[in-house]
């Protein structure tokens, strides 16, 4: 696994609808091979088609990350923001944001009584200070509609990675690693690996690409919750215990055919795995499953702590096992 690629992905600026930089990193990182076609569909999804003999399989990882959008600039140069995707307002105060053109700022909160304690979790009460002196000064740096993300950081220690946007850059990383290591002659699927756009605001890229491709099978690669933090919501998933094979989430029940097939593949190849049940959140798999006359869909997830916060945390061992599982699943 080339961790430098993951670093590049984490540092790419890519809030929902502005995934260009992420697309670039992915295109540069894929080693094109025989029988592989790379193109962008009309919705902006990046599609890698590796021809193979067998039913059509679509694997989806999303390129976009959650973020904010500037909605107002006041006369003193302070910015007001709106949400793009599931930003957790309890994590906003004191966070460093990175805007489109490299501008940075910190988020604070209106409060007359107790210094910046977030009493009402309404986005209208937050504001961003980019160090501008006044409105005109600020307008040189940002405008209404400018998008921002948690400033990328990357910390690796002992096989664990802490970074914002592992949701779902880790899925993109896995996609690149799989595409770079599969033997297209051994494929028993006609494989479409789709790096989707706008997942965080309604699985839109997955809906449109799935419509166009009309796969027989679908698998989403995304993050899922981990239950191994102190006093946390009980979820039977932990870091380091293997690839999470999705059973149920808030938006779907995995196709038993796909789920059982993934479990069988894991067991046959002695790949450590865990069974995933979460009760909040869903993925591109939801979109694929309900496309047209239906697609047999499942998902493989990477257990992740603190999803949708700047400190998302994973274990690279799990990533390794997810890559292995996908490869063994698609190759004969």
């Amino acid at each position: 696994m080339d961790i430098e690629i993951l670093k590049k992905l984490i540092h790419a600026f890519g809030p929902s609808s502005k995934e260009e930089s992420v697309k670039k990193v992915i295109k540069q990182s894929i080693r094109k091979k025989q029988g592989m076609e790379i193109f962008e569909d009309k919705f902006g999804n990046l599609v890698v088609h590796v021809k193979g003999n067998g039913p059509k399989l679509m694997i989806a990882s999303h390129m976009d990350q959650i973020g904010v959008m500037v909605t107002d600039i006041d006369k003193n140069g302070f910015l007001r923001i709106g949400e793009v995707g599931g930003i957790r307002k309890s994590f906003l105060v004191g966070q460093k944001l990175l805007f489109e053109n490299g501008v940075e700022g910190f988020v604070y909160y209106e409060d007359k009584e107790s210094q910046w304690e977030v009493k009402e979790q309404k986005i209208e009460k937050f504001f961003v200070d980019i160090g501008a002196k006044n409105r005109n000064d600020a307008k040189k740096l940002v405008g209404i509609g400018t998008q921002g993300i948690y400033k990328p950081t990357f910390y690796e220690n002992n096989g664990r990675v802490i970074a914002p946007a592992l949701d779902d850059r880790i899925g993109c990383f896995i996609g690149i690693e799989v595409l770079n290591s599969i033997n297209s002659r051994k494929l028993h699927f006609d494989l479409y690996f789709v790096f989707t756009v706008q997942e965080e605001i309604g699985v839109k890229g997955a809906k449109t690409s799935s419509y166009e491709i009309t796969p027989d099978y679908g698998i989403a690669i995304d993050v899922t919750d981990s239950g191994d933090m102190p006093e946390t919501t009980p979820v039977a998933l932990s870091l380091g215990k293997g690839a999470a094979i999705k059973v149920i989430d808030a938006g779907m029940i995995s196709s038993r055919e796909v789920k059982d097939s993934l479990i069988k593949t894991a067991e046959k190849n002695k790949i450590p795995y865990q069974l995933e049940i979460i009760t909040a959140g869903t993925t591109d798999a939801y979109a694929m499953q309900i496309t047209k006359a239906g697609v047999q869909t499942g998902a493989i997830s990477i257990p992740t702590r603190y999803i949708h916060t700047p400190g998302e945390t994973i274990d690279m061992d799990d990533v390794k096992n997810v890559i292995k599982l996908i490869k063994k699943y698609v190759e004969k």
């Binding site: 919705f43 107002d72 509609g145 605001i201």
Partner: protein, 339 residues
């Protein structure tokens, strides 16, 4: 200048979600000389096609015909009508209002207990809509049931009026203004295939647009709306969303959709070059038909442009004619740049 006669006719028409017939009939009449083909689909969407054989991207112009309103769900022993809200309405705008019940437009009033009879506590409390009743003057349950059986739609009784030159009040500017804009736009000739989608049931879940856009999926779509303006006293600047008199409102993001960046930049450049005022929607709230159109089949590039309107989703709204005119001007010129 805005076709205020048409706007008035559309605004006054009965068109609660699911019961858009009167609005549809007016629009059919208005556009029939200017389009090649008119269709009505199984949900009631009005679809008009113009120039479909032309080269170029298929351009959709979309507005919804329906308005928020009420529906009778219950008749009490004394002949008063209980109702449900159709679409999002703040309970606090309902007390003391006049309504028209059913397609035959029987007048009714939503009265509440006189203040003299209210306790101090009652005076301060909002009355939830399920505790409000429509009085059509029926003397018995049977009489009421004959006139307005459960399932009868109800609209606000508000007449379009001009307050002073260029400032109008009326109901349902969300989205009869969008419908009027499309009528005006269809009168022009463009060298492009044009699909006009006047949708139904937008206010109850963007429903008509789902099937309308499936039937005729565009490459580019412009949703024309009447949108939130909260430029009122005591509303903080960053919460006003839009302002009357500042021109057409261009949406970057609302609750469900981020509009196409490249197309929007093109629109903004045009507005700047042609010196047409414009503003952005500054609250990322509210959803439109663009949500459905954007993810229809393999996807479409969408824009949402709106006339700013105060007090939408209430019995009486207000807009400035100059905003309507500037919206029309901008979109008319913009469509021409798409071929």
């Amino acid at each position: 200048m805005a076709n205020t006669e048409l706007i008035a006719k559309l605004s006054n028409a009965f068109g609660v979600s699911g019961y858009e017939e009167e609005v549809r009939n007016i629009l059919k009449e208005e556009i029939k000389g200017f389009v090649d083909r008119i269709e009505i689909d199984s949900l009631g969407n009005l679809i008009a096609l113009k120039n479909m054989q032309a080269n170029g991207p298929k351009v959709m112009l979309n507005a919804h015909m329906d308005e928020v309103g009420l529906i009778v769900d219950h008749i009490d022993e004394n002949g008063f009508l209980g109702f449900k809200k159709v679409g999002g309405i703040d309970d606090r705008v309902l007390a003391g209002k006049r309504v028209l019940v059913g397609k035959s437009k029987v007048p009714g009033v939503i009265g509440i207990k006189a203040i003299h009879l209210q306790s101090a506590e009652e005076v301060k409390n909002t009355i939830p809509s399920k505790n409000l009743y429509i009085d059509i003057g029926a003397k018995s349950k049977e009489e009421a049931e004959k006139i307005a059986p459960p399932g009868t739609p109800v609209m606000f009784k508000t007449e379009f009026e001009t307050l002073k030159k260029g400032i109008h009040i009326g109901k349902a500017f969300d989205d009869r203004l969008g419908c009027a804009l499309i009528v005006d736009l269809l009168k022009e000739n463009y060298n492009l295939p044009i699909i006009a989608l006047f949708s139904v049931q937008e206010e109850i879940g963007l429903r008509g647009a789902a099937t309308g856009a499936y039937q005729y999926t565009p490459d580019i779509s412009i949703t024309l709306e009447g949108t939130i303006s909260a430029d009122l006293p005591e509303v903080k600047d960053h919460l006003k969303c839009t302002r009357l008199g500042k021109g057409p409102v261009i949406t970057i993001k609302d609750s469900g959709t981020i509009t196409d960046h490249a197309l929007r930049e093109k629109l903004i450049s045009l507005a700047k070059r042609q010196k047409i005022p414009y503003q952005f929607k500054q609250l990322l709230a509210g959803g439109t038909d663009a949500y459905r159109i954007q993810i229809s089949k393999g996807g479409a590039k969408v824009l949402t442009v709106a006339v700013p309107v105060r007090y939408i989703h209430s019995p009486v709204s207000l807009f400035y004619e100059e905003d309507y005119d500037n919206t029309l001007k901008l979109i008319k010129r913009f469509i021409k740049t798409l071929s």
